[in-house]
């Protein structure tokens, strides 16, 4: 008896590869997505160990080296590989520390928006019709405002800071999760396994979180990846407008706002922060595309 059960246990993995492995098989076919993943891992690494990697403190001002060009241009030195800004701060160190803020913004916004959105979506999907209608109308109201504008006004109300920018962005991104979750809940609820679980006596909470939610996760994961990049972009845009992180914080958007007046004199103070935003957002979007292809069962078959 013990023999038989161990035999079954040992044959299971060979017959059906684990979910993660199956996912990886599909994911790695998309070369762009894998590249995006590598860049993202590098970005996370830089964000986590910014203090160790950065050559200088991001707010130290070198008065003798103001607006020094990058090393490959005339007047550049290896002391400041990407040059210095108008206050003589090292661009490279500021960019490295900036990664930390963008990463932080992305994580917090996605966690807040997704948690709230998934919860509201589940409730809307399971609730009686009046509550469902109420929740969806509320979401329609939020969606009627262009997200950046609503975030901007929210931050103006709450007072400009990175924290308030994150709250505002999370709030305007939330309706997408609600809609997505509700749509897949409604789709799943008609299926036999959900009905079976109800017959077996599962309560509404158990049904919501344990029966239905795991089967709705694929599109939500993709949405999480995409809103990570939206969050970084919007936070940088708010910083650029002076409504996000405040100077001297080395946030990429705020750095760009500081650099605006040097647009025609010192290209490097403008180019590098924007390039950092673009590369990060692009990597995450590439990854998101790969995730969608790997998680979407419709595409798998073809």
């Amino acid at each position: 008896m013990a023999d038989a059960s161990s035999q079954i246990a040992s044959t299971v993995p060979t017959r059906r590869p684990g979910r993660l492995r199956e996912f990886w098989t599909y994911f790695k076919e998309n070369r762009g997505a894998v590249m995006g993943l590598y860049v993202f891992i590098a970005f996370v690494f830089v964000a986590l160990f910014a203090d160790l990697i950065a050559p200088y403190d991001p707010s130290t001002q070198f008065r003798s080296a103001i607006l020094q060009p990058p090393v490959w241009q005339d007047g550049g030195t290896w002391g400041f590989p990407l040059g210095t800004d108008a206050l003589g701060r090292d661009m490279l160190s500021r960019l490295i520390h900036g990664a930390r803020f963008s990463f932080f913004v992305g994580i917090v916004v996605v966690v807040v928006a997704a948690t709230g959105g998934i919860f509201l979506g589940l409730v809307a999907g399971f609730a009686p019709k009046w509550l469902d209608t109420l929740i969806m109308r509320l979401m329609d109201i939020v969606l009627a405002f262009p997200s950046l504008l609503l975030a901007l006004v929210l931050v103006a109300v709450l007072g400009p800071s990175l924290l308030n920018a994150m709250i505002a962005i999370a709030l305007v991104l939330q309706p997408h999760y609600v809609r997505l979750t509700r749509a897949s809940v409604l789709n799943e609820r008609t299926k036999d396994y959900v009905i079976a679980s109800r017959v077996a006596g599962a309560g509404p909470l158990r049904q919501m979180f344990l029966t239905v939610l795991p089967n709705c996760l694929a599109p939500i994961i993709v949405q999480a990846a995409l809103s990570f990049s939206t969050a970084i972009l919007d936070a940088a845009a708010l910083g650029f407008l002076g409504m996000g992180a405040q100077p001297p914080t080395p946030e990429w958007g705020t750095m760009l706002a500081d650099a605006r007046e040097f647009v025609l004199r010192a290209w490097w103070v403008v180019t590098f922060p924007g390039l950092a935003i673009l590369v990060t957002v692009l990597a995450i979007n590439l990854m998101g595309d790969g995730l969608r292809d790997a998680l979407d069962p419709k595409l798998k078959r073809s």
């Binding site: 762009g32 109308r137 509320l138 329609d140 109201i141 009627a144 405002f145 262009p146 997200s147 950046l148 504008l149 609503l150 901007l152 006004v153 103006a156 109300v157 007072g159 990049s229 972009l233 940088a236 845009a237 650029f240 407008l241 002076g242 409504m243 958007g253 760009l256 650099a259 605006r260 647009v263 025609l264 290209w267 403008v270 180019t271 922060p273 924007g274 390039l275 935003i277 673009l278 957002v281 692009l282 979007n285 590439l286 595309d289």
Partner: protein, 335 residues
């Protein structure tokens, strides 16, 4: 169709009410008293404070304030700007043509480049051309447009000196507002060089504002074309011996256009949000810059009124897109 129209309108009304409540609510939950902010550093006497408080109705209960605001909104009364003391409604419509002109040019730029790019990519699926186009589209989609604007300024205004950095018109030209569109007004004025100046001022902002819609349209066109190209009637058309140009251009493109048109309609929100950044960078005297300036000046009636007007415009456009969509595609109506 009537039933569909009515049901769609039925969702419009509560959303409109909600949008009014949200825009009304902002000014009331703000930390800080708007009247004191208005007085600025000079301060004001207690009587003046009470007189103003009465004038703006801040001394009355909230529901009554809202009712008055709401009935005012329905009559086109959005209050007066703290700074200029002009009606917000008038200010909005004197600036709106500038934003409309910029947005139209941006979306035309996006369609003219995005549609052919998407079609070509779909027809040559998996080839080098497809991959190059779609990688470019993804870069465009990920672009922080405020940075993109600065880069274009560095290259085209700074290094090459081809385009001006800001504004709508060269300073040496002066003529009356007829339509509010610089391109048309400059032609009507008959001044030589005015039209050229208007075009030069428009080029960079249009490219910047059109970049994300361009990427979205290219991607959407490609995927819609791919879907249609695998349909049976396309195979039939090919089997009949029609030329590839006719199959792709006539049979496939027509049916692929439906989702593309939807995307174009829905990009109005993107355009208005993008206008905030684009107009601020290029000092373009439109709604976006007006909103940002008003936020910094704490001109609350303008922020409130502008927020409401923009949301209503987005809602109306979405409604029109939905109705058109239902008109084209009967399947939608039945839901």
């Amino acid at each position: 169709m009537l039933k569909y129209l009515l049901s769609r309108l039925a969702t419009f009304v509560p959303t409109f009410l909600g949008v009014c409540i949200v825009s009304f609510g902002f000014i009331r939950v703000l930390p800080g008293d708007p009247i004191i902010v208005m007085a600025g550093e000079r301060g004001m006497t207690q009587e003046r404070y009470e007189a103003l408080s009465q004038q703006f109705g801040f001394d009355r209960p909230l529901p009554i304030q809202f009712w008055e605001y709401f009935t005012g909104v329905l009559q086109g009364d959005l209050g007066r700007s703290f700074v200029t003391n002009r009606p917000v409604w008038d200010e909005f419509f004197s600036l709106f043509p500038a934003t409309l002109e910029l947005s139209l040019c941006a979306i035309i730029f996006a369609i003219v480049l995005g549609l052919p790019a998407g079609i070509i990519a779909a027809v040559y699926r998996g080839k080098f051309f497809d991959r190059a186009l779609m990688s470019t589209a993804l870069v465009g989609y990920s672009m922080p447009i405020f940075w993109w604007a600065l880069l274009l300024i560095i290259v085209f205004s700074g290094n090459l000196g081809w385009t001006p950095v800001s504004g709508r018109m060269g300073l040496m030209y002066f003529f009356d507002d007829v339509t509010g569109f610089m391109l048309i007004d400059s032609l009507l004025s008959g001044q030589s060089g005015a039209f050229k100046s208007a075009v030069q001022h428009l080029i960079l902002p249009s490219i910047v504002l059109g970049t994300i819609p361009l990427a979205v349209i290219a991607r959407q066109t490609r995927s819609a074309m791919l879907e249609v190209l695998s349909e049976d009637y396309i195979r039939t058309a090919r089997a009949k011996g029609l030329s590839p140009g006719r199959v792709n251009g006539l049979h496939a493109l027509r049916n692929a256009m439906i989702p593309v048109i939807t995307v174009i309609g829905l990009s109005v929100g993107t355009l208005l949000a993008g206008a905030i950044l684009t107009e601020t960078i290029f000092s373009w005297p439109g709604i976006g810059k007006w909103m940002v300036d008003s936020i910094f000046r704490r001109d609350y009636p303008v922020v409130q009124g502008g927020l409401l007007m923009i949301a209503v415009i987005v809602m109306i456009v979405n409604l029109i897109v939905d109705v058109l969509y239902g008109l084209i595609n009967p399947k939608i109506r039945k839901r």
